[in-house]
């Protein structure tokens, strides 16, 4: 009896101790985590919420102020606006807490960084006092502002000696926590909650210090998630969506007749000023496509916006067919090794001016010569000479290996190249190129989307894992190969220059990437007679000259379109039924079957001619199709362009005549 009572007393004592001793203690957790992979898209969504909270209102204000004549919308003011939104730090602070009534609640604070102006000039004009009138917070959302109340217990500790220290209160992180602090002091929210802060960039030292101070003073858990890793998935997706948002706003402003006021002077003959009627065309969800990086597409878009039609590609002064353009670009268009012809460029037209403005990067406007060179690159007139046309990204001794320059120019990762070679074999460089580029494109698509989106849209990461994972967890299935074939077929129908996986590699169209990878695979095999004199020059005596000349090309010194012509011939040879093979015909059939019903198979009459895929007329058709999608051209305006391209895509002979 006594023992039982003793146990009961001990238990009661322990219970009382655990209850009363633990109550006042609140765990203060302060942590910082860089945002890297974002499988479900939650981090990107949080960052985009913060961005759009301000961008929606600021865009609307930009347009309304221009309409009222307060601040005209020009290329210069737009650029400043765009740079401001790109360069600002956006903070989304979720604060969840338990109210006095025991109910869990949350509140979200959005902050944008201000300008670090001087004490005399004050912060920049963008964040004027009327900003809050343009924002549209939902219940529970708060616009965080700079708080310099003397009651603040979050001191600004660094740097104290700088003359602009006062304006450091404009840092987004500090705005967010000081606004939260005000709510804590006013009992709008309660202490001891959990604060999760998403920061669109890397936090400065002073901000990190302030976050720690804040968490300690108010006894709350605080986790700062910073978008500080440059090539992380979170950063890539967030920046792409930010760009897509700004491009959408801008496309509703720049040079569109439909947005021009009825009493405005005609825009033709001069660079169209930004016409600002109505609100920006930004709906939710914002367009996912990032703005194009294709010079050719931007040029044709600029002409379409200037002319209001597809006249530029059909019959304008600059309109030429593929052969004419090749004669203008190359000194000897019949040779695969031709140098560029030395040409004077025509005076810059308004459309070219507009295109240059649209391709501005970090405030730098490309020159007319650069635009012309980029256009020639996209149409396949450049070569793959190491140190001349392609950067040296591997260094010695790898950069001297044959095949490396073509592989580098194609923008394919070395791991993908090797994995596909293992799968396809050495005998089929053209077929291997199809799979390698498809796998690389899949990698790029997966990298640009979150795991949740991938599941929803059938972007299959397991297909890539089956090919490239080390160690191999599974072998590629029939479906995997068909999946890649359909993916590549679709990319060939579009005109979509993708940002390369390395920033130092210039983008290349899909068709030319395939050709370059095929050349790289072929270069890895020995030649009976070496076609190149050096890594940058062909041997005139031994190098093939294309066309009916069956000798191998010196790929480094050949133009992309010459390599593409070789690829088409090589692919037909590899896909032919009676191809003898050291590894057996069933393997070849397994590799070629998925492409049988795509545009890469040429056996069926009427199948679009693969060889015409890089012709200027066909490329222009793909671009015009995209412009119709974007609303820059009408469906009717695209029809003559399609009809013109079809003449080159359709085989020259068929069995039936009308």
């Amino acid at each position: 009896m006594k023992r039982v009572s003793l146990y009961a007393c001990i238990r009661a004592g322990l219970f009382a101790f655990s209850t009363f001793a633990c109550l006042p203690v609140v765990a203060v957790v302060v942590g910082t985590r860089p945002l890297d992979a974002d499988p479900n898209g939650n981090a990107v969504n949080a960052l985009m919420n913060g961005f759009r909270f301000y961008a929606d209102g600021l865009s609307a204000r930009f347009i309304d102020r221009a309409n009222q004549g307060i601040a005209p919308a020009t290329q210069r003011t737009w650029r400043a606006f765009e740079e401001r939104l790109r360069g600002s730090t956006f903070v989304t602070l979720f604060y969840s807490y338990q109210g006095n009534d025991g109910v869990s609640r949350s509140r979200t604070y959005y902050a944008i960084s201000g300008s670090r102006g001087t004490a005399e000039t004050g912060p920049e004009s963008l964040l004027t006092p009327d900003l809050s009138e343009w924002l549209d917070p939902w219940p529970g959302e708060v616009m965080a502002t700079a708080q310099d109340a003397s009651t603040s217990r979050v001191p600004w500790q660094m740097p104290t000696v700088r003359p602009d220290a006062t304006w450091d209160l404009q840092d987004a992180e500090l705005k967010a926590i000081r606004t939260l602090e005000k709510d804590l002091q006013n009992h709008v929210v309660e202490k001891a909650g959990v604060a999760t802060i998403f920061v669109s960039g890397a936090s400065c030292v002073a901000c990190s210090q302030a976050l720690h101070n804040f968490a300690n003073v108010y006894e709350l858990s605080l986790i700062a998630k910073e978008n500080s890793v440059p090539y992380s998935q979170t950063n890539q997706v967030f920046r792409a969506r930010q760009s897509a948002y700004l491009a959408t706003v801008r496309s509703s402003l720049v040079g569109r007749e439909r947005f021009r006021p009825a009493n405005a002077p005609p825009a033709r003959g001069k660079i169209p000023a930004m016409c600002v009627v109505g609100r920006p065309v930004v709906t939710f969800p914002v367009a996912i496509r990032p703005p194009t990086i294709s010079t050719l597409m931007t040029l044709i878009r600029a002409y379409a916006r200037t002319d209001g039609s597809a006249a530029h590609v059909l019959g304008g002064n600059a309109a030429t067919n593929d052969e004419d353009y090749a004669r203008w670009v190359l000194s000897d268009p019949s040779s695969p090794y031709s140098a560029f012809a030395d040409r004077d460029l025509a005076p810059m037209s308004d459309a070219v001016h507009l295109a240059a403005q649209m391709l501005t990067v970090d405030g730098r406007v490309p020159t007319q010569r650069e635009l012309s060179r980029n256009k020639q690159r996209e149409l396949g007139f450049t070569k793959s000479r190491p140190w001349v046309d392609v950067p040296d990204i591997y260094g010695a001794p790898i950069n001297t290996y044959t095949g490396v320059p073509s592989h580098t120019k194609a923008g394919i990762s070395a791991g993908t190249m090797l994995a596909v070679r293992d799968m396809v074999g050495n005998d089929y460089p053209a077929i291997g190129a199809l799979y390698a580029v498809a796998a690389q494109l899949l990698w790029e698509k997966l990298h640009a989307t979150t795991a949740a989106e991938q599941r929803r849209l059938g972007l299959r990461a397991e297909v890539l894992a089956g090919m490239t994972s080390e160690p191999r967890t599974r072998r590629p299935s029939d479906f995997d190969r068909h999946y890649l074939a359909i993916l590549l077929d679709g990319e060939m129908r579009d005109w979509n220059l993708r940002t390369p996986y390395r920033p130092d590699v210039a983008p290349l169209p899909v068709a030319l990437r395939i050709a370059r990878v095929a050349a790289a695979y072929r270069d890895q095999q020995p030649y009976e007679i070496e076609p190149c004199l050096s890594p940058t020059h062909h041997n005139p005596a031994t190098a093939g000259k294309g066309g009916t000349d069956a000798r191998p090309l010196c790929f480094n010194d050949a133009t992309d379109r010459a390599v593409y012509a070789w690829f088409v011939t090589e692919l037909r040879r590899e896909m032919a039924d009676s191809q003898p093979s050291e590894i057996g015909d069933p393997h070849r059939r397994k590799m070629t079957d998925p492409f049988r019903y795509t545009q890469f198979d040429q056996r069926s009459p009427g199948r679009p001619a693969l060889g015409a895929a890089v012709r200027k007329e066909v490329v222009e058709m793909k671009i015009v199709n995209r412009l119709v999608v974007d609303g820059d051209l009408s469906y009717e305006a695209s029809q003559p362009v399609i009809q013109r391209a079809v003449k080159h895509l359709q085989p020259a002979k068929n069995h039936l005549q009308p």
Partner: protein, 284 residues
Amino acid sequence: MRSSCIVVASRLIFTGLVCFSGADASAQGRRKATPKPVPPPVELPDPSPGTVIEAGYTDDIEGAIGHRLGFLINVYAHGMQEFIRDAARDHAGAVSEASMERFRNQLMTATFAFFEYSWHVGGVRYTRIYVSRSNHDFERLIPPGVSDLTAPGTGEIDYLPDVGVFRFARTTVAVPGSSVLPSHDPRANRANDAELKILQTLKNDIRLNPQMAGGELVGFVSQKPCVSCSPALRRFASETGATVRVNYVDGEYADGRRTPLFMALRQDRAVAAALLVSYFSHAP
């Protein structure tokens, strides 16, 4: 006594009705056709919504929808081209504009559906592709009395890819015991809808190979599933235990509804149709 009165009265009424209707028919000088018995609409079970996700997209994300449907449109265009070539072989090769327009119209307006069905057996994932389009087979696009084309005796299926992972759902095949059936719609015959053809073909495959049940179906359709296909999708999910997601192109050719994804697909259709027509009118 009471029952005999009722019998007499009913006979009188029946006789009167017969006389009245006969007089009416003779007055019009023709015999009135006997109306076909119209079966009552089948009451099909409709599981609670939520078993199927239908998501409309106005813009494409990384070509996930457009590339699949564009591929399918081109496969059908190629099949049509081969079919027309065979159908015109005995007619000196000339194909009339009217005939071409019937096929071209199919490419421009038909609903195209591309479904991927995945299931696991022993920890290994298998995936198969089911594709279809709405409306009738190629043979039905050559109406009786047409002089420039003759049905070649081969079917549509002979002109479509014959590869292991592909299933071309050509016609609807009701699966015994399954309620994956078209719903009654007085405005249209829903039996030829692309989604329904696929669901019934897939359901039949699952019936023959029960290991396929409980998989994951991801569909890509060129327009929003109709009032008949939506419940059929839910019934399919309910019967097979599959999770179903359908991503469809949200948009149409009307003011304010020309969404980017819809227009992208329309351009794909236009190019495929132009290639088809060009093949039969292109001079060497």
